[in-house]
């Protein structure tokens, strides 16, 4: 019972924040709402017992990605005080596309018979913390993807620095 | 003061923006406005806007009798008022040909050196605030209070002393002056060591100041920079040594110089100067003769027509008084050449290319007093 209430609360917050993020006229507000939506998602992760993922979500997504986004918004100072519509002329096609995709997925979910697949798995009430499992998996079965991702991150870091660093000659 | 924007906004490139520092800003030490053109945190251009507290002292003095101008010189630089009194008194005495008795000269030297210490202590504490250290101000003010008490005992004023009269002093030193001076000299050098350990030698501060705001000797002289700011640039020009006035030849002290002319050298010069001042005070205390404190001065000050320029080494640099007399009891034209005026003008030269925090650090190291710039 209490879990259901919490689920609906968090889901509501997430969707509400996501809607506001998409519709907000001010890009900075959008970023703040994005942070809220991500926080809601993190809470949902925590509800599912994936505390580690929730922590990573907050640490990386909010603490790094959103902060970076806000940082860039601050740097492109043109936006301050601007209150023009942030939405282009594609509203109607966008609504149709998004509704269609949502309906499709929901229909597929409802049509699928999950019962048999869940049956042999652990019931939800027994969901335990799986941080240890993740850690073991990352360093055994998934060690190569793990390393590849770290290389990717390094490459992205260097690439970002290279892109943003100023052209010394162009300056002069 | 200017109403025109000094660099047009259209000239800004995309990454640059204008930041108004002042007129009310915690680290401009008064009402000074600095318009910065910044790229991120780096200063690209800078414009000093002064004159917010201009009170036209020179015009005021043209309408006052000679003896009435003395309290106004206090208010030019309220931190080393005695030196400014001295500059003015010296000018009128030279114009009138008055010789000051030796005891009065000794008292003048003592007051001036105490005043220099007082000013440097305030500079030290304010500099601590400028660079974010909040404790130095308390320690420095403890000693400063002792100095002020001594000067107050002699002159009656704590900040605007109005100490000098033409020809000497009205009152002799109070009885307990020598005792408190002795006590002060006794422990002050240890205190300076503490100050240096607390702030000047701190690695954070040295990292912030060494190599920052380098003022070369040529630039400094070209911009008319004087005082400790000039001596920081390895230029041993101290008016007490190079153009001695009063009885400064009698004392054994050295003009403190820095090596590279960066911000840290200017700080160090001021700290050393306090030690030298203590030395002078010690010699003056031992050598002070008995005798008159006031020369024979006519009741009405009416100098012969002519003009005079005298300069003294104030805590900030060369303070000069230029008087044109037309034979009446009021000066025809009086001009105060104030050290901070020239010292501030060099700020642009040495700040461009450094960070916002450096602007504060460099400006603090120049030791500005705004009323003296605006006059």
């Amino acid at each position: 019972m209490i879990e259901l209430i919490l689920f609906y609360a968090f889901a509501g917050v997430t969707i509400f924040a996501a809607m506001l993020m998409v519709l907000s006229r001010n890009i900075f507000h959008s970023a703040l709402f994005l942070a809220l939506a991500l926080l809601g998602v993190a809470a949902l992760f925590a509800m599912m017992g994936s505390f580690f993922i929730a922590g990573i979500q907050v640490l990386l997504y909010i603490g790094a990605v959103v902060v970076l986004t806000i940082f860039v918004i601050n740097l492109t100072k043109q936006v301050i005080g601007q209150d023009v519509s942030q939405v282009n002329e594609l509203v109607l096609p966008a609504i149709i596309t998004s509704l269609l995709s949502a309906c499709l997925i929901i229909l597929a979910v409802l049509k699928t018979d999950w019962g048999t697949r869940i049956a042999q798995s652990v019931a939800q009430s027994e969901l335990t913390d799986n941080t240890a499992i993740i850690g073991r998996q990352l360093l055994t079965n998934f060690v190569i993807p793990f390393e590849i991702v770290s290389v990717l991150l390094l490459a992205a870091l260097i690439g970002a620095i290279a892109i943003v660093s100023r052209d010394k000659e162009a300056d002069k | 003061m200017t109403t025109k924007a000094p660099f047009e906004l259209e000239k800004l490139s995309n990454d640059e923006y204008i930041l108004n520092m002042g007129p009310q800003h915690p680290s401009t030490h008064g009402v000074l406005r600095i318009i910065l053109k910044l790229d991120g945190e780096v200063v690209k251009d800078l414009y000093c806007d002064v004159g917010y507290i201009h009170s036209s002292v020179e015009k005021m003095c043209e309408n006052k009798k000679y003896e009435m101008i003395m309290p106004y010189t206090d208010r030019l630089d309220y931190l080393s008022a005695v030196n400014y009194n001295w500059g003015y008194a010296l000018a009128v005495e030279k114009l009138m040909g008055i010789t000051v008795p030796e005891r009065a000269e000794y008292i003048r030297v003592m007051l001036a050196e105490l005043n220099r210490i007082m000013s440097h202590l305030l500079w030290y504490s304010a500099y601590g605030m400028d660079v974010g250290a909040l404790t130095p101000i308390m320690y420095a003010f403890r000693e400063r209070e002792e100095v002020i008490d001594m000067i107050e005992g002699m002159t009656g004023g704590r900040l605007t002393h109005n100490a000098f009269r033409f020809g000497g002093f009205r009152n002799d030193l109070p009885k307990d002056f020598m005792d408190s001076l002795k006590k002060f000299i006794g422990h002050f050098n240890d205190k300076i060591d503490e100050y240096e350990a607390l702030l000047i030698n701190n690695i954070i501060l040295t990292a912030r100041t060494i190599g920052v705001g380098v003022l070369s000797k040529e630039t400094a002289i070209n911009y008319g920079v004087t005082g400790p700011s000039l001596r920081g640039s390895n230029c041993a020009i101290d008016l007490r040594k190079t153009a001695p006035y009063s009885i400064y030849e009698k004392f054994d002290f050295k003009a403190c110089v820095g090596k590279n002319g960066d911000t840290w050298d200017r700080l160090k010069v001021r700290m050393d100067e306090m030690r030298e001042s203590t030395k002078i005070l010690k010699q003056a205390m031992e050598g002070i003769p008995a005798g008159d404190i006031m020369a024979k001065v006519p009741k009405i000050i009416k100098p012969a027509p002519g003009e005079v320029y005298t300069k003294v080494e104030s805590a900030r640099g060369e303070f000069g008084v230029y008087i044109v007399s037309d034979g009446t009891d009021k000066p025809y034209r009086i001009k105060f050449r104030s050290p901070s005026f020239s010292n501030l003008s060099v700020l642009k030269e040495i700040t461009i290319g450094s960070k916002i925090a450096d602007v504060v650090a460099i400006m603090g190291s120049l030791d500005l007093v705004i009323p003296e710039i605006d006059r």
Partner: protein, 152 residues
């Protein structure tokens, strides 16, 4: 260096309109057109490294504005004063900012205090005064706030 020496050296190179000794310091009057050369000569050839100040005196009786340039030499420890008489109605003089950078602010101050126009000045903005107050150091400046000393 005593004043006669300076005067001789100066006279050898440039025209000195008038000169006198005042409390041991040479005061030399030169013409307004020559000011830049004279100051440059004093700085480069006679080691007058410091420009103490630039100011002006309003000689209302003679209908003149007198520019005063005071230089000091750290090497020889001697002063020299260069003066220029300008027409009070239309005071104009060449700037010496290119020789002494410190002259920049001093000239701007003089400019607004006496209305002297400095030709070719790099930054002719006002320095100290707000708009609306002009030439306060001229002797005929009047202001409502100015009260004379009481006559008792």
């Amino acid at each position: 260096m005593i004043f006669t020496e300076i005067l001789d050296k100066l006279k050898a190179k440039h025209e000195v309109l008038e000169s006198k000794e005042d409390l041991g310091v040479l005061n030399a009057w030169v013409s307004a057109k020559k000011i830049k050369e004279v100051i440059g000569f004093l700085k480069n050839d006679m080691q007058f490294g410091q420009l103490s100040f630039v100011t002006a005196v309003d000689l209302m009786a003679a209908n003149n504005i007198e520019m005063v340039y005071r230089l000091f030499s750290y090497e020889t420890k001697s002063d020299v004063v260069i003066k220029v008489k300008l027409d009070r109605a239309k005071p104009e003089i060449e700037t010496i900012t290119s020789i002494f950078s410190t002259a920049d602010w001093h000239e701007r101050e003089t400019s607004e205090m006496f209305g002297v126009k400095f030709l070719n000045h790099p930054d002719p903005n006002r320095l100290l005064l707000p708009d609306g107050i002009d030439m306060p150091l001229r002797k005929d400046f009047k202001c409502a706030d100015m009260t004379p000393l009481p006559k008792v």
